[in-house]
């Protein structure tokens, strides 16, 4: 027993020695972040988190806090990990819980109440949990079917506009979507169809889609970069599906991340197939730096961050008066009448729907 303890200590000592020559040697000041009144505040988020450097610097300068960001896989993973580590969280604020996962986070007591400064400016349709203020909406975006403009003009075919169109014979074998059980856009598309056709009707709709040759793949990367003929990756991979479930902001991204930039986006959005997602942030229940966490939440709602966010994360701001970039308006305007669903209705049905969907579409 004694030798084991000794060895454990030796291993530990070895680690400490090793850490002296590690990638962060000298600049790693995170060991004291647990202390009260710490000057470091930690944001836990998913992989899509992004912010302009100078905007973040501004916040650090004004508030006096240094921000550490932990990216934790996709949105589902980030929430699941936050729940697992609830008693001893990895950070102070979690950003990136969307309306499809909100109930899982709230039911597990992930957040503590805090009404962020500026929350009266949030547009009413995005507000949630208003009596307790455990979460703050930060951004919103639409999951929509994207289409490959070149394909449709070459075949002299009108692109689909609505959920109903997708089941029409003219669009047979053209659509690729994601597995609703494993992918957030896949789930959004399923929920959009359920919102559109109702609890009774959506299964019938998917039977028609299946008969019409819808293809299901596991991830957005697979659907968009490989199967979809309209994206940069899909063109190179000889993708042969001109319709894909993606985001309303994907067409502008195809322009912004191109060199040279084309005059128009190569892809468009089927405006009647959209499902609106809202992403929330909240102060974690056992956050060690609650003061810093609150300041960080205020910052996420601030005009500066809200204006900066769209071109970094390809989402829309939620506060009144925030600027939507011109590229968004030009290449992929936001849907006027997206489907959406209250988080508690999603919570009550999600698991059952996904189960039925899996046996209906995948089996």
């Amino acid at each position: 027993m004694h030798t084991k303890t000794l060895v454990a200590a030796a291993v530990g000592l070895g680690l400490v020695t090793l850490s002296a020559c590690g990638p962060t040697a000298g600049k790693d000041d995170k060991t004291d972040q647990g202390a009260a009144g710490s000057k470091t505040v930690t944001l836990v988020s998913h992989d899509s988190w992004a912010v302009s450097k100078d905007v973040l610097k501004d916040f650090e300068k004004q508030s006096g806090y240094k921000v550490t960001v932990l990216k934790d896989g996709d949105a589902g993973q980030a929430v699941n990990k936050a729940i697992l580590t609830k008693d001893h969280p990895q950070g102070d604020v979690l950003f990136g819980v969307d309306n499809t996962l909100l109930s899982r986070a709230l039911d597990n007591g992930l957040f503590q109440p805090y009404q962020a400064k500026g929350s009266q400016l949030i547009q009413p349709q995005y507000r949630a949990d208003e009596d307790k203020h455990r979460v703050t909406p930060i951004d919103t975006g639409d999951i929509c079917v994207n289409y490959d403009k070149a394909y449709f003009s070459k075949h002299k075919l009108t692109p689909p506009k609505s959920f109903a169109d997708l089941a029409k014979p003219a669009y047979k074998n053209l659509l690729v979507t994601e597995n609703a059980a494993t992918s957030s856009p896949g789930l959004g598309f399923l929920l959009g169809s359920a919102a559109s056709y109702g609890d009774q009707g959506w299964e019938g709709y998917w039977k028609k889609l299946k008969a019409n040759g819808v293809k299901v793949v596991d991830s957005w990367e697979q659907a968009y970069d490989q199967e979809f003929s309209g994206s940069a990756g899909g063109r190179k991979a000889h993708g042969d599906r001109p319709l894909v479930v993606s985001y309303a902001s994907s067409p502008p991204a195809e322009v912004i991340y191109a060199d040279p930039k084309p005059k128009t986006a190569p892809t468009g959005v089927a405006s009647g197939t959209c499902f609106r997602q809202t992403e929330y942030a909240g102060l974690l229940s056992n956050a060690r730096n609650t003061k810093g966490g609150k300041a960080l939440l205020d910052f996420l709602l601030s005009r500066e961050f809200q204006n900066d966010m769209p071109l970094n994360m390809f989402v829309y701001p939620v506060v009144k008066g925030a600027q939507v970039p011109a590229e968004f308006q030009k290449y992929g305007p936001q849907a006027k009448t997206p489907q959406t669903m209250a988080p508690d209705r999603i919570a009550a049905n999600r698991d059952q729907w996904v189960k039925s969907w899996t046996s209906l579409v995948l089996k």
Binding site: K30, L70, L84, T85, W220, L311
Partner: protein, 533 residues
Amino acid sequence: MAGPVAFFAVFFAWPVTAIVARGLKADGVWQFGRIADVVAQPGIRHVLWFTTWQALASTALTLLLALPGAYVFARLGFPGKQLLRAVVTVPFVLPTVVVGTAFLALVGRGGLLDALWGVRLDTTVWAILLAHVFFNYAVVVRTVGGLWSQLDPRQEEAARMLGASPLRAWRTVTLPALAPAVAAAALMVFLFTFTSFGVVQILGGPGFSTLEVEIYRQTSELFDLSTAAVLTIVQFAAVGAILAVHAWTVRRRETALRLVDAAVTARRPRGAGQWTLLAGVLATVALLLVLPLTVLVARSLDAPDVGYYRALTRTDGGTFLVAPIWAIGNSLEYAAAATAIAVVIGALAAAALARRDAGRIVRGFDALLMLPLGVSAVTVGFGFLIALDRPPLDLRQSWILVPLAQALVGVPFVVRSMLPVLRAVDGRLREAAAVLGASPWRVWREVDLPLVRRALLIAAGFAFAVSLGEFGATVFIARPDQPTLPVAVARLLGRPGDLNYGQAMALSTVLMVVCAVALLVLERLRTDRTGEF
């Protein structure tokens, strides 16, 4: 011995137990009844069945295609052999996110098969099987070929002189000597394909699921920890059984064989048969291994003035807090630290295992050291999160977590590479040194070290390459400001747009080149007695 045991207890057994307990314990009581419930579900039974048969089929196909390769690499001399041997090993260490993309260019739409015969294999089980061959070709070539090249060819020649047909001579002389190596290779391939994750997810689509994929879905997407825990235990049991058989064949393999220097057994091909075989193997390698890798390189160059590579040095775009190019530095630093840990732990373990007086328990530990190769990365990752999160070991914020997780995968390779050499060191040398008054440390330094130095370097190289390519556990714990190459590639692939896609291809190519260079250095250091890889 105590060192490796403590390492595995703290960084493997404890985290995995913690996450399994989280799923299977209710109010402090283990719910073992859940195991029967979950296994009885038809969906899960289907997964178990698919996992097993695809692994068997993959193993058979890999042996079928790679054994001729093992022969060619062992017995025939041809220009560029070293380079080719490094190249066929590259897939083994490439992350599956990259390989899946590349492989679709072979079997997907518009791929070679599609262009030639209109055959598309994506989302069929054939794509999975062929990709498994792609990944594991090197395992067979190195394990079987390594031994084959050291078998004395004169034994087979003697049989021929005595009138045996070539086939009979091979069947009665060479095959029995090779059989244990073939069995060991087959078991390794079976282990890797049984726990296959990325290949099945990317190439198979949602219609196919292995145990490993199902554990990931249950943990990461559905958050059904209880089902995930049961599946982890089931996979553990299966992998444990495979490893027990593997350990047994490895021991059998160490029966006395007359081994000669590999350099003298390889000759220029003679006769139509050997030339045809060489051509066939080269064609297989070109089609199945080199072509998908070439596609990656071609796509990374598909912009004027190597634009994708130049874009790697910029920070704009917001995906990263630093320019993607820095991921190379991060990867190298992490891999160096992981290699240091893996070599220290692995060498200690190998030294303990190689002792002639090693008992059954110690030898059983040999199999246990291999277990991390068979446990899902998501289980280890989640386990790290909930087990190593408070003093005295609060490592969640520490960069050391990444090399630790990578070292877990590297240690088995170090042990496997060093054991055969250490076992071959004549114990009397050590005794003589001790009798002459050398301290144990000095004995190690003066006797063992010079003999195992090359094996150690080879082991370090393998651990380094494996760490470079490790994705599953790293993506869970890597810090956002310090992504590794595979993590950066995955992040770039996760965003729409030409530049992101092109940069992902460029970074993948960089990873490939770094891996290949590491392996080429290895080839230079190859000794006549290599390990099992």
